[in-house]
């Protein structure tokens, strides 16, 4: 299955009932798959007039208490940021898929990772976080979509799947996750269902009284601390005896795995830490490895956005070189290997 289609199918299996979109490459297959399959399986597919409208439809559908999703690519995600900030402020769950492409501006449709800051550091206005998950295979993409819906519901925090054009377009065999039992999805005691027989409910992201808004923000912050304590996810490859550690996520994480193998074949003890949750970021695991591995090399399809978090984690315990590509150029394993050689003693 193609990455984009696996994401779509997994969303339907996760119980996504409403999907709103506006077309953009390289996530077109996701839109098309949803158009073909979601209505037939009892859900709502609607092509909105813009990304702004689509995310606000998600806002409404989520408030009504159903699992809902939208997907886009970099420029479209920028437009969704207003709505994403509102979702975060109103504590409404939703899944947002960003199949990243080259930027800034219109950029191109080649795979890039230049939206890391936007995804993990806010993007929209205000003090908020998204749960950000970054798959590196089609199989993992399907699994993380299921997880994104579950975590988003559990914490009432919107979740983002941060993929890229490579993963979206790539075809791989997938073992699709079992559909969730909809009876097992927890009730949403805050959903707007009509106030018959109960007190009215309101969904709000504002309080003009600073003290009141502070309280709302403190609830958000407490939720974020809880997520940081329980939901950090990462993968380690050959770190036990490593003398150089690569840190890479998504498509780059996958290429870095090959680099580790090539390096080991040449007698360089390389290892890899691949963050799966970009927020919460695996600061502690990286810090622990940096205690004993002298070089931590970040490789990224950006000018060094995740690198900032890696350096925060390492805090001077190890050298922290960086290798990145820009504009949708994807380096070959060999190119990265020569970078590894430069830094491994």
């Amino acid at each position: 299955m193609r990455g984009n289609e696996a994401i779509a199918e997994a969303a339907i299996r996760a119980g996504c009932k409403c999907y709103f979109c506006y077309p953009i490459t390289p996530q077109g297959e996701l839109v098309e798959y949803m158009a073909r399959h979601l209505p037939r399986r009892g859900g709502v597919f609607l092509q909105a007039e813009s990304e702004v409208a689509a995310i606000n439809m998600v806002y409404g559908a989520s408030a009504a208490g159903v699992r809902t999703m939208t997907s886009s690519s970099s420029p479209g995600i920028s437009l969704k940021m207003e709505g994403i900030s509102y979702l975060a402020g109103s504590r409404l769950p939703a899944v947002i898929v960003n199949v990243m492409r080259g930027g800034p501006g219109l950029g191109n449709i080649a795979p890039a990772q230049g939206d890391y800051f936007q995804a993990t550091k806010g993007g929209g206005h205000g003090d908020y976080h998204l749960i950000v998950l970054a798959p590196s295979t089609v199989q993992e993409a399907a699994e993380l979509v299921m997880l994104a819906f579950a975590l988003s519901d559990r914490y009432r925090v919107p979740a983002m799947i941060l993929a890229d054009g490579m993963l979206g377009q790539m075809m791989e065999p997938v073992e699709l996750p079992e559909p969730v039992d909809e009876g097992a999805i927890p009730e949403k005691p805050w959903a707007l269902t009509g106030a018959e027989g109960r007190e009215p409910r309101v969904v709000l992201s504002f309080d003009l009284d600073p003290q009141g808004l502070k309280e709302m923000n403190l609830v958000l912050q407490a939720t974020y601390r809880e997520i940081e304590a329980h939901e950090v996810r990462w993968e380690e490859v050959d770190t036990a005896d490593a003398e150089i550690l690569l840190v890479a996520y998504g498509t780059m994480g996958r290429i870095a795995k090959t680099v580790v193998r090539l390096a080991r074949a040449e007698g360089i003890r390389a290892g890899l830490l691949r963050p799966i949750s970009l927020w919460p970021f695996p600061y502690e695991p990286i810090r622990a490895l940096a205690e004993r591995i002298p070089v931590v090399l970040t490789v990224e399809l950006s000018a060094g956005q995740m690198w900032e978090d890696v350096r925060l984690a390492v805090e001077g315990r190890a050298a922290t070189p960086f290798y990145g590509e820009l504009g949708g150029v994807v380096p070959t394993p060999k190119e990265i290997l020569s970078e590894v050689k430069k830094h491994a003693r």
């Binding site: 007039e49 606000n56 439809m57 009504a64 269902t193 009215p200 309101v202 969904v203 504002f206």
Partner: protein, 256 residues
């Protein structure tokens, strides 16, 4: 508070708050038409007996606190996005009765696209559009509906149509589309017109109950605070100025 007033023996209360309104005091200025329009919406909800399945959408603007005034479920939407939020709610749960309540800044400027497209899709929702020709909450700036020559804080010499365009006739525009079921323009400056607006708002909700599709009631309203006039003069401004550009009446009625 009205509910606290003691009724002498032998008297009967004939005027009361609609059931779907709460006791919360209005946050509108004296003479503001938002107050009357908000009450008409509540009366329509009561008469149709739909309070228990209604979800209202509060805008950005002076009606942002709308959720406080009603006893039904409410959501506050981003500036201009109410019709998109309504679309999501209604599509997710078609049993809900969903209405938006928006000012001209909200519906006719930042939210033009969301409004036009929801109308064109014939979304089965009800939009209440309060056209007071000014951005009230932010201090009286020019709105797309500001009249030619009208002074606002951002058109201190009066609106010059050569540089700022003409008053936006949203209702006329939407009436051209095939999607909407009902587009009407009303006013609330006197009792007769309040009664007409009341009927229109009820019809806009009944259309939704009957699944007829998008209905919008525009109400030409006064914002005495930003017109810098008394409440009485606010009413006069509506009849003498605003209605010249925004004539009242039904612009589109599917199956009358």
């Amino acid at each position: 508070m009205l509910a606290d007033v003691k009724i002498p023996e032998g008297y009967v209360r004939v005027f009361k708050r609609p059931d779907s309104m709460s006791d919360a005091p209005y946050t509108y200025c004296p003479g503001c038409h938002h107050g009357v329009i908000g009450r008409l919406v509540a009366e329509a909800i009561d008469e149709l007996g739909i309070r228990g399945r209604t979800v209202g959408i509060a805008p950005v603007g002076c009606a942002v606190f709308l959720y406080r005034f009603y006893r039904c479920d409410f959501i506050q939407a981003a500036h201009g996005r109410a019709c998109a939020v309504a679309t999501g709610l209604k599509r997710a749960n078609p049993d809900l009765i969903v209405f938006t309540y928006q000012g001209d800044g909200d519906l006719a400027a930042i939210g033009t696209a969301e409004t036009v497209h929801a109308a064109n899709r014939g979304e089965n929702i009800t939009a209440i559009f309060v056209n007071n020709a000014v951005y009230g909450m932010t201090g009286g700036e020019m709105a797309p509906t500001t009249l030619p020559g009208q002074r606002t804080v951002t058109t201190p010499e009066g609106r010059d149509v050569r540089t700022t365009g003409y008053p936006f006739k949203i209702s006329e525009m939407l009436a051209q589309l095939d999607g909407p079921a009902y587009i009407t323009r009303q006013a609330v400056y006197d009792v007769r017109h309040v009664q007409m607006a009341r009927k229109a708002i009820r019809k806009a909700f009944r259309n939704q109950l009957e699944g007829k599709g998008f209905s919008m009631v525009e109400v030409v309203a006064a914002c005495p605070t930003n017109l810098k006039v008394s409440p009485v003069h606010g009413n006069k401004w509506v009849t003498e100025q605003a209605l010249r550009y925004f004539p009242l009446g039904d612009l589109k009625v599917r199956d009358p």
